[in-house]
Amino acid sequence: MGNANTEGRQETAAPAIELRGISKAFGPVQANKDISIRVMPGTIHGIIGENGAGKSTLMSILFGYYKADAGEIFISGQKTQIPDSQAAIAAGIGMVFQHFKLVQNFTVLENVILGAEDGALLNTSLRNARATLRQLAQEYELEVDPDAVIEDLSVGHQQRVEILKALYRQAEILILDEPTGVLTPSEADQLFRILRRLRGEGKTIILITHKLREIMDITDTVSVMRRGEMTATVKTSETNPQELAELMVGRKVLLRVDKAPAEPKDVVLEIENLRVIDDAGVERVKGINLNLRAGEVLGIAGVAGNGQSELLEVLGGYQTASGKITVNGQEIDLTGKKSDGQSRRARGIAHVPEDRQSEGLIMDYTAWENVVFGYHGDPQFQSGLFMNNAAIKEDAAGKMERFDVRPPNPRLMAKNFSGGNQQKIVVAREIERDPDILLVGQPTRGVDIGAIEFIHKQIIALRDRGKAILLVSVELDEVLSLSDRIAVMFDGQIMGERLPQNTDERELGLLMAGVTGEAS
């Protein structure tokens, strides 16, 4: 670890980080193939790529979590070995993970010094850290109350603590992995302001993301990864989103959803004063009213964890609630005594759940077993005492072909498909039922651009057949481009409804943060 160079940057224009020929394989999967990259000091360098392109693996190698099979790492021009994260920290690298590594019931100060205490006695460490924090806060506009307990802080502030932790350890290079995934748009703006400030002070920042807009907004240089390879590194000012998307996917893509104006008909779903109290006794949904018409897409925007998941679960039949929900004029049971996922399906409600890996699919089931999942009790799939596996397989093969699931092999385990194809299996299963109401949660989370385009088209096609769609997504872009009507959820309540043509990301962002400005 003594080989780390933390003493200031060299005055020559040596790159802050240079990777040469990094390769890493997991079994037969080549996660990184001969990757070389130069990140200049005092810049923000974006790394963009689809899920599974190898971004996280590359950064894990840089932070000492994985050992590369081949290749060299240079920090400020010096060849450096990074066998573990201690060495990475000593080399001046700080990492802010997508899922924060904070002790929830510790204060900010305690979290910052955790693992970097000066000695056995905490008091001196805490006193020193308090002074350092105050200084860092002034320098970089990173105001956080040092005595606040983490669990009381907003997600945006928790992220600041992560950044402070890195700076406290004298990081010169900061790696942020999908930092805006959990933030509201305004929190993201604040984060970007901090990042610019850090750049101004000479820090080097690597930003990993799959959002093209962020790359265009904030980075100086951008590297594109596809299937484990670095396909291009370009100056951000010399590129555009369309070009980056094509580099990511390897073909031309349609970034906008093509759709005709909606033709809404009768109300098919009416939600009145819906309240949900979870197992821990916390009220997650606080009396919401919504209605959904046939032939329209109602988008629910909001930061994750504001009651959208519970809303979907209630409609899907596996969460109890109070209030009143009417489907096609008939009230449905919310107590869970006379209803479950099966009875909802019987009423013509299909559901693409938010988390395909833990809910939508059985990862250890074959594709054909998954394509019948939830509908496995249908008479057409039974023969006497047994299930009619031949009929199920045939049905599955057809659906997989129509939804372009690759590879089109129904005998493959669900876990062996890519994220996008897993999602296509779920979407195929639910849309092919031709339901009256389709619930869709995060339809394109962790899905590659090509599959996103396909799934969006299918959703709009279902709408155009006169069906009702309730879309929940944390991706504001997705809600804006798919919905015919948008409701924003915050803290278990509907903050307001907007029409996509009459609103913008800024206004929705404020509503998502619970700020109701002008009356709607």
Binding site: F26, P28, G317, G341, S343, M363, H376, N389
Partner: protein
């Protein structure tokens, strides 16, 4: 990740595990100054060298098939049923009640009646831990273990105070009537001109065990219930999403499991003992766990593993009889096999997997 070919998974890994266990056992036998080669020869000839040996091997195997299937069914719902022992004891009680208190005209009717009695009481004994788990969240591992002790105490009470014939000093029921005695393999095979040892206890319940294996295979892989059991076992959250009732699946899977464990007593109590004694299960409920692990919770695997463990039991008994290898050491050998085939699966699996994938890549 790429996967290993199926043959490596189901044949190669158990074989290598077995080999390792055998090597270590040999080392232990050398350590106490005996000849491992001679010991192995004795085990093989004792267990497989005569129809008498086979009769005992298959008798033990029958027990293990029942209890192994029981553990497997629960495994598929991700429930760890350690209560096979207690459920088998209650099954024995069911057999005794049906055989003693109902007059049967012929063994075949008695077999059906006793099967129902054994399955019912075994299932009932599994029902209580199941409902406690499903409704109250009491961990099934803990409750099923405790129910083994309760079953033993209950049986002890019944045999000593209630069912013991007057004048007998033995905590056991009266002998079952003649008409309920099951035919042994000797009797079954005689009409076909096959001479099978008269003294060996293997009996017609082996056939019931094999039928049960077929039943389990159909249930798990061909029925809607089996589909739901496996789905629930793989992912409880996905099962909830699909509208599969977790309480129902937990209870049904455990009751099927308990019924299978209970049916073990057809072999021991009805077939061999012809009366209910206190310790008729002889730990077979626990061996069922090892059998299910080794057999990958698949009926075919369970049958094969059961025969292997039957061989170990019978061969071990022969060793204890004819050599100065103490009985305890035989338990050690059996434990080594359980350890390597069941618990240390990954120790063999991981290096083998790497090796096979490496070769696969070179060829591809």
């Amino acid at each position: 990740m790429q996967k290993m070919p199926v043959w490596a998974d189901v044949i190669l890994i158990p074989l290598v595990s077995l080999l390792l266990a055998a090597l270590l056992s040999a080392a232990v036998i050398v350590g106490i100054g005996e000849d491992p080669q001679a010991a192995l020869n004795l085990m093989i000839s004792g267990a497989l060298g005569s129809t008498y040996g086979w009769g005992y091997t298959l008798y033990y195997a029958t027990n293990f098939i029942f209890t192994g299937l029981a553990v497997s069914v629960a495994f598929h719902a991700k429930l760890f049923n350690i209560g096979g022992e207690g459920q088998a004891m209650l099954g024995g009680l069911g057999v005794a009640l049906v055989a003693l208190y109902i007059p049967w005209p012929h063994w075949s009717f008695a077999l059906i009646g006793c099967t129902i009695g054994a399955a019912l009481l075994g299932a009932a004994w599994a029902y209580i831990p199941a409902i406690l788990q499903a409704k109250r969240g009491s961990h099934i591992v803990i409750t099923t273990i405790m129910f083994n002790f309760i079953a033993f105490a209950l049986l002890n009470y019944l045999l000593v105070n209630v069912m013991r014939p007057a004048g007998s000093m033995d905590p056991a029921t009266a002998s079952f009537p003649e008409a309920t005695h099951l035919p042994t393999l000797h009797m079954l095979l005689e009409p076909f001109g096959i001479k099978f040892s008269k003294a060996a206890p293997a009996n017609v319940s082996l056939v019931v065990a094999l039928l049960a294996a077929v039943f389990v295979w159909l249930l798990i892989w061909r029925t809607r219930l089996g589909y739901e059991i496996r789905a629930f076992g793989h992912s409880e959250s996905a099962a909830r999403y699909a509208g599969i009732n977790p309480v129902r699946i937990t209870v049904i899977a455990m009751m099927v499991s308990g019924a299978l464990a209970g049916m073990m007593s057809l072999n021991t109590t009805m077939g061999e003992g012809e009366r209910l004694i206190l310790n008729s299960t002889e730990g077979a409920g626990f061996i069922g766990i090892a059998v299910a692990l080794m057999g990958r919770s698949h009926p075919v695997g369970v049958v094969v593993a059961s025969i292997l463990f039957g061989f170990l039991y019978q061969g071990g008994a022969e060793l204890a009889l004819w050599t100065s290898i103490p009985r305890d050491l035989i338990v050690v050998i059996q434990a080594l096999v359980i350890l390597f085939t069941g618990a240390l699966d990954n120790m063999v699996r991981m290096p083998l997997e790497r090796l096979i994938l490496m070769f696969g890549r070179k060829e591809g």
